[in-house]
Amino acid sequence: MNRDFKKRDRELEERISRDYQRMVKECDLHLDLMERELPPPIEPLVEQLESSGISRRSFMKWSAATTAALMLPPIFKSRVARAAEQFGRVPVVWLHFAECTGCSEALLRTSYPNIDDLILETLSLEYHETLMAAAGYQAEENLEKALHDFPGKFICVIEGALPTGLNGKYLTLGAKGRTGMEIAREVTSKAAAVICIGSCSSFGNVQAAKPNPTDAKGISDALGIQTVNIPGCPPNPINFIGTILHYLMFGALPPLDSLGRPIWAYGKRIHDYCERRPHYDAGEFVEEWGDSGAQKGWCLYKMGCKGPYTYANCAKVRFNDGVSWPIMGGHGCMGCVEPNFWDTMAPLEKPIAEKTFGGGEKTVDDIGKILAGVTAAGIATHGTVSYIKRHNQKDFAKPEDEV
């Protein structure tokens, strides 16, 4: 028996190492191909790092962390570093629709630039409405040029939902006044891949929350195409960078879950990797903001944490160079990576059991108690009437067996 297990273990190990070797070979081939086919980065990453005073050593540490986040074996560390250096080769067209530009802001603005930010700065942005210098017809020309120069090769990154009501007329953009729907349809049809960054473009977010007057939808719903969704409000830069790195290394987008989210980033629940989880299982909850439990870092479930319903890697990779993340900061998760979270996760600072229905102030338990009360009243009435009726019957006094 024991020998069987050992044999099986050995076979498994051999298969895994064979698979990894194959993956490594594919990865190297694809990185070579990328270097041959795509133009070199305008600003090489090495120079960027040097000018920002980031050592090679920090960069290698970053590569190791990113390799782990991507759930790849350590042998890929050097490949991740190489892919990060090639990051600037991928032409990107970045579109903005109904949104707040918060995702771009979150990716581009930090108190000090970290490696994620620097890599994003090397991105070969052919068109980005917030960052480009061009305006009006010139801007439109840039977009047309990008579509003409890199047909089927550029990556289309979309930020923002598409209002589909009134034939898309709630959102018109640019000098030619085209609707978001028209632009999105044209650009996505020529892109190698469509990456939706943020919850707006992924699932509609607040624009699509009830009552959704503009009939806003996520890109894949609005256009009926398959997109890679990087939801979050805003998403973690590592999830976006990792997805592009995967594309660079393997020439394909990473495996996606049924909502189009990369499994390596959105495959596990916040709750299962939360540092406050032991307090949840122990039954130690924060009862109100600033109480002794909050000071001790207890579980935020009763303060409306939606970690148990949310699939994301925030707890593992955290934000801003792994400094902190919402639950660590003392506020519950609000489930911003899930579809329609404004509706399904409400109320955001109370447990979901206190969700109210029908615009009123009644929770499920309130409604249940009312229904139980009505049922009890019905039972009491029925019982009383039955009793009175039996009393009024003439033969009531006689037991039935004597009739």
């Binding site: 949840y280 909850f285 479930y301 399904t344 059991a353 499920v364 039972i379 009437v385 039935e400």
Partner: protein, 221 residues
């Protein structure tokens, strides 16, 4: 003195299932409401406590037990040699009998509905509803177990039921539906117990004790 005969109404497995369901549903309701709005246990060190974890384990265990009981009852409904056929659930299709029973229950008429069926027509309708509630609560429960325990059958079921989870609006929606159905069970229990007592008094057939002894006392017709 009318001729009263003892008639076997509920076979042993049906009685066992009935009382096992009673125990699991009550345990599930209590533990479930605790999980929805837990109490903080402030005293003591964190490593010594596992209240929420234990209560969730109990909830999961009895949920699995309820699933097993439902499968057992479904098996009996399909293949039992004794009286436990699924066709009993169609008693309400006899509309004349249904109307007779509604009039009798609303105390409008003294005419009792026919004894031809194992269940009364309204009872059959209520059980159809109960089966629907049970399937839904088990389905939503399995989805949540799948999200919790990333191994074995629960993991497989969680992945298998992923489209259902998404159709229900993610885990938050699944949890909401689970909670709403729990209230359906409470309402069912209230009416079910009252009707059993009422029928026990009005029919004088020993309805309540029949779920323990298995026998009713019925006048020969």
């Amino acid at each position: 003195m009318p001729d009263i005969k003892m008639k076997k109404e509920w076979w042993l497995s049906i009685r066992l299932i009935h009382w096992s369901v009673v125990i699991s549903v009550f345990t599930l309701l209590i533990s479930g409401f605790y999980i929805a709005t837990p109490i903080t246990f402030g005293s003591g060190a964190t490593p010594d406590k596992f209240y929420m974890g234990n209560i969730r384990s109990i909830h999961t265990f009895f949920g699995a037990f309820l699933t097993f009981l439902m499968l057992w009852r479904a098996y009996l409904g399909l293949f039992a040699k004794f009286h436990a056929r699924w066709t009993d659930l169609l008693a309400w299709t006899d509309l004349d009998n249904l109307i007779t029973q509604i009039r009798f229950y609303l105390l409008l008429s003294e005419k009792k509905p026919s004894h031809r069926y194992q269940y009364g027509p309204l009872q059959a309708l209520a059980y159809n509803g109960l089966i629907f509630l049970q399937i839904m609560i088990i389905l939503t429960g399995l989805i949540m177990v799948g999200a919790n325990i990333h191994a074995g059958l629960s993991l497989w079921l969680g992945n298998f039921l992923k489209p259902v989870e998404i159709a229900m609006g993610g885990l938050a929606g699944v949890r909401m539906i689970h909670h709403i159905i729990a209230w359906g069970f409470i309402l069912f229990i209230m009416v079910h117990v009252y009707m059993a007592v009422w029928i026990d008094i009005v029919y004088k057939e020993g309805t309540i004790s029949s779920m323990i002894s298995g026998r009713v006392f019925r006048k020969a017709e």
